[in-house]
Symmetry: C2
Subunit: 317 residues, 2 copies
């Protein structure tokens, strides 16, 4: 078993791929005082990354993530240069197996012998991507949620060859820097949280296909109702409070049979055909009205920051 660095010895983090996810990670690591060595293959990425970080900085201060001293950002021309000398690597390349596998082989020789690499892959199976990669035992999934500089969740998944101590190190490191890591014990498409989301989406798309309600009302069915509770506790803990003072046992007794019978009527799996697509697009455009995507993102982030602040301030209350 390799002995990995102490968390205090981590100074420099490589961020490979600086789209929305990578830029979010870069902003987060910088705010926590780490130097970031960034690389991206796209033209003009450096300016976009700096703009993202400038926008995220006050958000990270508002939400209480920022430590005193911001780290230094360095932009590199190659992924090898970025990972060279890095204590930790967060990889956010395009979500395609071939692209990620090629990148891993390319950086394999440049990666430090005790550096851990975490991939932000939202649904790929890491074991499928690391054939012939010598440093693969130090590779793990570290999957964040959008926007990654604000949402605490990080899913840790090991590949078949991941050193258990490396996965443990990554888990501890994310916790150390203020994230909320969880362990997904098996490699399945979409890990865990995206499967839970996809399950809700499946039924939300079915509701559009079946014309059960307007797109706007389907949105409100979550955001004005159960969605308010999902920000406060997860599905099993909500179920625990559904049965009153009797807790989970009472819930299972009272609501189990009804839920089983509802599930028998929820067996359809939608496909994104032209009918569903056009209904979704029309419904979203109607709900957006005059608002742009930027308006909605700003509204989301403003509220998300206030929500995260409130949750932090009421912790253990």
């Amino acid at each position: 078993m390799t002995a990995y660095k102490t968390y205090d010895a981590v100074k420099r983090i490589a961020v490979l791929g600086c789209g929305t996810i990578g830029a979010g990670w870069a902003a987060y690591f910088l705010a926590r005082g780490y130097d970031v060595a960034a690389w991206d293959p796209a033209a003009g990425w450096q300016d976009r990354l700096r703009a993202f970080i400038d926008n995220a900085r006050p958000q990270l201060q508002a939400v209480g993530t920022a430590t005193g001293r911001e780290g230094k950002l360095e932009t590199l021309d190659t992924p090898e240069a970025a990972v060279s000398g890095a204590d930790f690597v967060q990889e956010n390349a395009t979500e395609r197996a071939g692209i990620k596998a090629d990148l891993y082989r390319r950086i394999d020789g440049a990666l430090g012998g005790d550096a851990i690499l975490a991939t932000s892959t939202s649904g790929l199976i890491l074991s499928d991507l690391v054939e012939g990669v010598a440093s693969a035992p130090r590779f793990v999934v570290g999957h964040p949620f959008n926007p990654p500089h604000l949402i605490p969740l990080v899913e840790i998944v090991s590949s078949k060859v991941t050193d258990p101590a490396a996965a443990e190190w990554a888990y501890g490191f994310y916790a150390h820097i203020g994230k909320h890591p969880i362990v997904v014990k098996k490699e399945v498409p979409g890990h865990l949280a995206n499967r839970l989301q996809a399950a809700l989406w499946r039924e939300a798309f079915n509701a559009v296909i079946d014309d059960l309600a307007s797109v706007e009302d389907i949105n409100a069915a979550i955001s004005q109702g159960p969605g308010l509770r999902y920000a406060l506790m997860g599905p099993h803990m909500i179920f625990n409070l559904t049965g009153g003072k009797g807790g989970i046992r009472a819930s299972l007794e009272q609501f189990g049979p009804a839920m089983e019978s509802w599930w028998t009527t929820m067996q359809a799996t939608p496909s994104f055909d032209d009918n569903l697509k056009s209904k979704l697009i029309a419904g979203i455009e109607e709900e957006m009205g005059n608002r742009t995507i930027e308006d909605l993102e700003n509204e989301r982030d403003t509220r998300l920051i206030l929500l995260l602040k409130m949750l932090r301030e009421t912790k253990g209350a």
Copy 2:
């Protein structure tokens, strides 16, 4: 078509069934200045109802629901007495078809000719409950979410015999008193929001059965991640922001195929057998630690109130 009351003419609301849901409605109506005529068949219900209202009063003030003057609470010995003279009825009897159908026949003659009755049924089909009930055209589903004095969502569903004007009246009345009504256009088990919840629960229970993660980590997979977004916008609007500046069209293109492939691996429907039950109970007890159900309810309500306040204060921001 019947001409219904103007909303300003509504003074007295009957609340039938005063368990958690009925008590929540009673507290809400009183805070909005309506007189409430309450009835429940259980022994000692009056004291429990008054205690609930006393507890909810400061919450309703904090969240901004309370208007200046609180209505008067009257407790009645029979449902006929409660509905007599009521301008609107919110029915929250035990979630069993026979109990509700019997109650409807019992109050049928006492209900005012232009009074609307809304049932809080969380999953029953209203059309199945109103056989032989003369006032059924004025019956509609008005399904709230727990705790009903705090969560804004109300699902409106018409039965086969509901007067469209009565459903419209109920929709408008809930909006008038500060709730967020939505229209579910078809009668299906669980209406809409409970089906969306049950879809997420199905996969959350599958994750327990498959040992994909601990119960606590499955909870965090929502509450520390996507759940934070569900409090701010519904699933389709979240999907709209998943594709960056390209909006819903880009999301469909980028994430549609992956989601379709995940769904093919999410076809199992769990059943609440002893294995699932014991894993859930053990996981919840471990996560609860020393906290009681009351502690968790208080934590939820404290945070929910702050969340609702924040959402109100940032409306249109």
